[in-house]
Symmetry: C2
Subunit: 212 residues, 2 copies
């Protein structure tokens, strides 16, 4: 008997391989059929059209990231976990390139399609939750200052990771910087320090994310 969930997952994994090697434009039912050996008819049993197949790829990507984060949380703690959670989708290898491409493809669509936006929101919420948890652990261990507000810092770092990932797919210079050094580590290290109370700059009053 065919395990339909397993086959669906396998089809999505073939799709993600194509996305990482040749991009979203190349990711068609025909191409998945050619690569996998399943007929377009079999694939059509699981995904009614190309859009549906791509959406399957997005969900598989979210599942892979979720599994990654669970594994990280079960094996690492605090800052080490935080780094891995944030770097889990920076496109520095084929697997993560596929995840980025499929996510960013749907980000644009999520801005106009309500159901999709909600789905993407739930993935972002999950990502931030994992990061928040790691920040709290780091605080408990004394590796990050106790006065940081974990949720806000998590939201910013998740934004940083995704913003740089998007830019790296548009601009090779950003990609080479990401390959050279981890900006994630750089900014997490910045959190480990006290901000001086005197403000020398001509900027507006300091905004702090300290909890009340």
């Amino acid at each position: 008997m065919v395990d339909h969930n397993e086959r669906r997952k396998q089809i999505c994994d073939v799709l993600l391989d194509i996305v990482s090697e040749a991009g979203i434009a190349a990711a068609t039912i025909r191409e998945v059929a050619d690569r996998s050996g399943w007929s377009t008819g079999v694939i059509g049993h699981y995904f009614k059209n190309r859009q549906d197949l791509l959406l399957g790829g997005l969900r598989r990507a979210a599942e892979i990231l979720g599994e990654h984060n669970t594994r990280v949380i079960n094996t690492l703690e605090g800052i080490a976990a935080l780094e891995q959670i944030l770097e889990g989708s920076i496109p520095l290898d084929k697997r993560r390139l596929a995840l980025c491409r499929i996510f960013f493809f749907f980000y644009a669509e999520g801005m106009t399609v309500a159901d999709l936006r909600q789905e993407l929101e739930s993935y972002l919420v999950g990502w931030r939750k994992s990061a928040t948890r790691a920040i709290r652990q780091a605080q408990a261990h004394g590796d990050l200052p106790a006065d940081l507000e974990p949720k806000r810092v998590a939201a910013d770092l998740v934004g940083l990771a995704d913003g740089l990932s998007i830019h790296s797919l548009l601009d090779p210079r950003v990609m080479s910087q990401l390959r050279e050094q981890s900006p994630i580590r750089y900014w997490i290290r910045r959190l480990g320090t006290e901000v001086p109370s005197g403000d020398k700059g001509e900027s507006a009053p300091p905004t702090r994310y300290a909890s009340a």
Copy 2:
């Protein structure tokens, strides 16, 4: 005599108004005609189809941001300029919402269309250059540490601003955080501090963006 450059600009401004109020999906030649009073024929003289019109909107958005950055650099200095350059496209008002929506719509497409990717790259390069210049000024004034590498820090902050903007359009919680406090200021303030040389965390060796 009609000033064609001026009219083209006016059409794009009407388009951006529609994008800010009703989103990309509502931004059609028909809708621009209804709003502006110009016929679809007149608009068709400037933009051959909807995609071309949207591309016009992207270019107008880039021009608006470029003008904003020039104005900032001519009137502010150092950290104050840096903040304005980075916050210029965070979608906290109608104008900036339109810029974000049109940019992010094309980011997805830029990942598959080479010409468009290059165009978007040039906008990102320009944005980073303005930020880099402001960071150098702040260093010259002693408002940021001399050992920061301006280009790298600029790339990260531009990534942070764009990443959070994208997330705020997908997730209302990120939007309310952006409305409450500026993450840009928070992280710029983090740069003003020395990172301690002893590393208490279990993280990998510190990566620094210090110039050689």
